[in-house]
């Protein structure tokens, strides 16, 4: 017994020493302190993605990971000339603008109050510098390379600038003015390799947030409010976006205050329905999953036959996929690719409602008959009608469902999981039958450049000329007509067959922050993410400074006019330094979704 006791003591002692060592090394690791905070600070934490998928790199304009989340993290620090809110384009660094009749000359009137994070004033020369720097450092800014459209930039005065285009560009206000982050000339003029510039200075912008810490290992970004922001008043003091492995669990136990869910996460979202601690908003994901067919005239038989592709389309029960894979967390896709919530959506595309009879009839007509009654059709020349379906492991479940469905119309599918790089190389080489792939950005017609990607085997002159034409058509109705034709053509020819658009949800704790919203047609060029920098701001017109502009603000301003309440900074909706009925009108117009844009 005694020996046991001594042994136990020894062990406890060893454990203590061990703990001390751990504590020591842990203290060495804990050395990296963040900003000092006080209890009254409002800190908002949000899920930035799954571990390993939430490092969107250093959030400077030339180093961020060129996907939506990377851009968004950068956009909290850097402003653009225009921006978007829930209703559409709004002024940002530019207070207002006008465009010449030929659509080639844009004049921007810049905000005179804007300052860089280091205190330097923002002027027109920064805008000119930014555009010319990006043209000079060709390819350094990787987000939507449309800067080539700009012919020249001309400074009129410190706060007026004229941008001239080579040719009219329909989406200039969003795709360029609302996209290019303006960088400070006084910092970047000395930077020769922007892709390697990751000093503290590299994140000095004009945005409503300043960067405190970026941790690549944890995929975490820590921001603090820029209290000198020119275009509103920060309503949070710190914002952290970080990786968690299970968003629902982290939300439930309070580790984070907001998380995004989509598609088959519907089960997690349903658990929050009726939970008073959380609110849910649903948004359009602007994302589509599709099957790509090999349309190559030589290598693509029989998938290069449009009747065959239609047969497959009829043979796939998209409703079932939405039901079984997404649990109803999405909708059957527009066969014309663009999302139903996008303004460019064409509701009249052929829907290919699940129809085994039609599919069978079409296959029969092509001479694919099951001659040996094994359930699988044979080619007229013999041999099973069997195809390889490539997919990344993410969409295997969809693949499994499609495999089962197509078997019912006598088509055998060999499901081959692979990584995207490899699949992409097969697509380029036209060395495949079918592949499953998904992409976002489907609120913007520019995404419909299918022959460029992903349907590189699709070669239709009609389609290509239509696409080119819509690119330069300025008149919105004319352009819409062209985009509609494009969508119908895709639905008819089926170089790709769209499967579903998932829903997207933002679940948040309203106690901490309740201003989350989905941006009209997505942030910037169409990023379907709720992390719009405006959620951190009480903007002008937000008289009660709660981050939302609604009828309460109208009442608040009216009370201020009646001198029942003290005026607030943000009550001055039109920024004329008077609080009067003009501000009320301004707020009401904003609520109606028609914020006045000052055009001179």
């Amino acid at each position: 017994m005694k020996t046991h006791k001594t042994a136990l003591t020894t062990l406890v002692f060893a454990a203590l020493i061990c703990a001390a060592c751990m504590a020591f090394s842990a203290s060495a690791l804990a050395g990296e302190d963040g900003v000092a905070t006080t209890d009254s600070d409002k800190i908002v934490k949000s899920v930035g993605g799954e571990p390993g998928k939430s490092d969107w790199r250093f959030p400077a304009p030339f180093t961020f990971y060129p996907r939506g989340p990377g851009y968004v993290r950068m956009s909290l620090l850097f402003d653009t000339l225009t921006w978007k809110d829930a209703n559409g384009v709004i002024p940002a660094l530019a207070n207002g603008w006008k465009v010449s009749d030929d659509g080639k000359t844009w004049t921007f009137y810049l905000n005179t109050d804007a300052r860089w994070h280091d205190g330097e004033p923002f002027t027109a020369s920064d805008v000119k510098f930014t555009i010319e720097y990006m043209q000079e450092q060709e390819g350094a800014f990787k987000w939507f390379e449309s800067i080539d459209y700009i012919e020249s930039v001309e400074i009129v005065d410190d706060y007026t600038i004229i941008i001239s285009l080579n040719e009219p560009m329909a989406s200039f206000l969003v795709d360029i003015a609302g996209n290019i982050p303006i960088i400070p000339e006084h910092i970047w003029s000395g930077v020769s390799d922007p892709s390697k510039f990751t000093d503290d200075d590299a994140v000095i912008g004009t945005g409503p947030m300043k960067l405190v810490e970026y941790s690549s290992a944890e995929g975490a970004y820590h921001y603090e409010a820029n209290y000198d922001y020119y275009n509103g008043k920060p309503i949070v003091d710190e914002f952290i976006t970080m990786a968690v492995s299970n968003a629902a669990a982290s939300l439930t136990n309070g580790d984070v205050d907001e998380a995004t869910f989509w598609g088959s996460d519907v089960d997690a979202v349903n658990d929050f329905v009726g939970d008073d601690d959380f609110e849910i908003i649903t948004g359009p994901s602007f994302w589509v999953l599709q099957i790509i067919f090999n349309c190559d005239a030589d290598k693509g038989y029989p998938t290069n036959n449009v009747t065959f592709r239609r047969a497959v389309a009829y043979g796939i029960d998209r409703e079932e996929i939405v039901e079984q894979k997404l649990g109803g967390g999405g909708m059957v896709a527009n066969t014309g690719i663009l999302h139903p919530d996008a303004i460019w959506y064409n509701p009249d595309c052929e829907g290919y409602e699940y129809d085994v009879t039609a599919a069978n009839a079409m296959l029969d007509s092509l001479g694919f008959i099951d001659t040996n009654s094994d359930g699988i059709r044979e080619y007229p020349a013999g041999g099973d009608l069997k195809f390889t379906l490539y997919t990344t492991s993410t969409y295997l479940r969809e693949g499994e469902l499609i495999q089962a469905q197509l078997e019912k119309i006598g088509i055998a599918i060999e499901l081959t999981p692979s990584d995207w790089t490899t699949i992409d190389s097969y697509l380029k080489a036209a060395d495949f039958d079918m592949a499953i792939s998904g992409h976002g950005g489907i609120a913007n017609p520019q995404i419909m450049n299918l022959p460029d990607w992903p349907a590189s085997t699709y070669d239709s002159e009609e389609y290509n000329s239509l696409f080119k034409e819509q690119e330069v058509t300025l008149d919105i109705d004319d352009r819409k007509d062209l985009v509609n034709q494009l969508q119908e053509l895709v639905a008819e020819d089926l170089p790709v067959y769209t499967l579903y658009h998932p829903y997207i949800w933002c679940v948040f704790n309203p106690e901490v922050l309740d201003t989350w919203f989905y941006t009209r047609d997505g942030i910037c060029i169409g990023i379907p993410i709720e992390l719009n920098k405006l959620i951190f701001l009480a903007r002008y017109g937000d008289a009660n400074e709660n981050g939302k502009i609604n009828m309460q603000d109208v009442t608040a301003i009216e009370r201020m006019i009646m001198e029942l309440d003290d005026p607030t900074d943000m009550a001055d909706a039109n920024k004329d330094e008077n609080i009067n009925m003009l501000d009320v009108t301004c707020v009401e117009l904003t609520i109606l979704g028609r914020a006045p844009i000052r055009c001179e």
């Binding site: 299970n246 669990a249 079984q324 295997l396 499994e400």
Partner: protein, 281 residues
């Protein structure tokens, strides 16, 4: 006295588990209540219809786990039988012939033993298309090593035994001596190695599948486990009980079966020989 009893109990327990698994694997279509690829209402809780509920695309989980036995055991069996054959042959060659062959083989063995095998397998798996055959191939590449080493050292001792010496003096050919005198003595060791290797492979395959590096089309226990781990409500609901626990416990039971049988066999056949029990995961 208790020691021997414990061994016997463990051994028969292990054998029992393995026998059940083999039966389940062979008769999966008869035992499983449903076709594991057929879809029903998704994410159902356990009920009389679906004893373990349904998964994220509405497959019956019980049936999936039952069919998973086939995949897991198939991989384990294929790998073990091949790897052990290779290992035994190389071990025999190295131990019996000596010289350059022995030197080469044993250096390769040393190197393979130095590099953590699952890490290298993960690295290789990252380069290869995901398929069950690739998986089996990679496991075989690493599976023969321990056997070769153990067989070789056994051969070294056997080589100097009287009967082998005398057989050699009587002019027995090398092949004959290997076949008649050495191999039979090595077999018990090889059987233990076979059992151990099979256990290792089951866990390693499950581990790779859990990481998403297995063959996702072949729904082994690891694959089912992988999908359960990805479930968004894993920590906020009870789904883990019927979706994650069954494949997990199947893996544990199998490994235990192999471990117990291996341990009992080892104690019985060669009490002096102790290998580290425990898996590389």
């Amino acid at each position: 006295m208790t020691r021997m009893k414990v061994n016997d109990v463990l051994g028969s327990l292990g054998l029992g588990i393995l026998a059940i698994l083999v039966v389940v694997a062979i008769f999966a279509p008869q035992i499983a209540p449903y076709d594991p690829h057929h879809t029903y209402k998704r994410m159902e809780r356990p009920s009389s219809e679906h004893l373990l509920g349904t998964n994220d695309i509405g497959n019956d989980i019980l049936s999936e786990v039952i069919y998973g036995t086939r995949v897991s055991l198939f991989i384990a069996f294929m790998v073990s039988i091949t790897a052990i054959t290779i290992g035994t042959s190389l071990g025999l060659i190295a131990g019996y012939s000596g010289g350059v062959a022995e030197f080469m083989i044993m250096r390769i063995v040393d190197i393979f033993l130095t590099i953590p095998r699952l890490v290298l397998i993960i690295v290789i798996a990252a380069f290869m298309p995901r398929s069950i055959w690739n998986l089996i191939a990679v496991f075989i590449i690493f599976g023969w090593v321990m056997t070769a080493r153990i067989v070789r050292s056994e051969v070294l001792t056997l080589r100097n035994q009287y009967y082998v010496e005398s057989a050699r003096m009587l002019g027995g050919s090398n092949l004959y001596i290997l076949w008649r005198h050495i191999l039979p003595n090595v077999i018990p060791l090889v059987v233990v190695q076979f059992i151990m290797e099979a256990g290792h492979v089951i866990v390693a395959e499950a581990g790779l599948s859990f990481l998403g590096l297995g063959d996702p089309v072949a729904r082994s226990w690891g694959t089912t486990f992988h999908y359960a781990f990805e479930c968004p409500t894993l920590y906020t609901s009870d789904v883990w009980m019927w979706w994650m626990l069954p494949p997990g416990l199947c893996i544990v039971a199998t490994v235990l079966g192999f471990t117990f049988v291996g341990y009992a066999l080892e104690e019985r056949l060669n009490p002096k020989l102790k290998t580290v029990v425990g898996m590389e995961i």
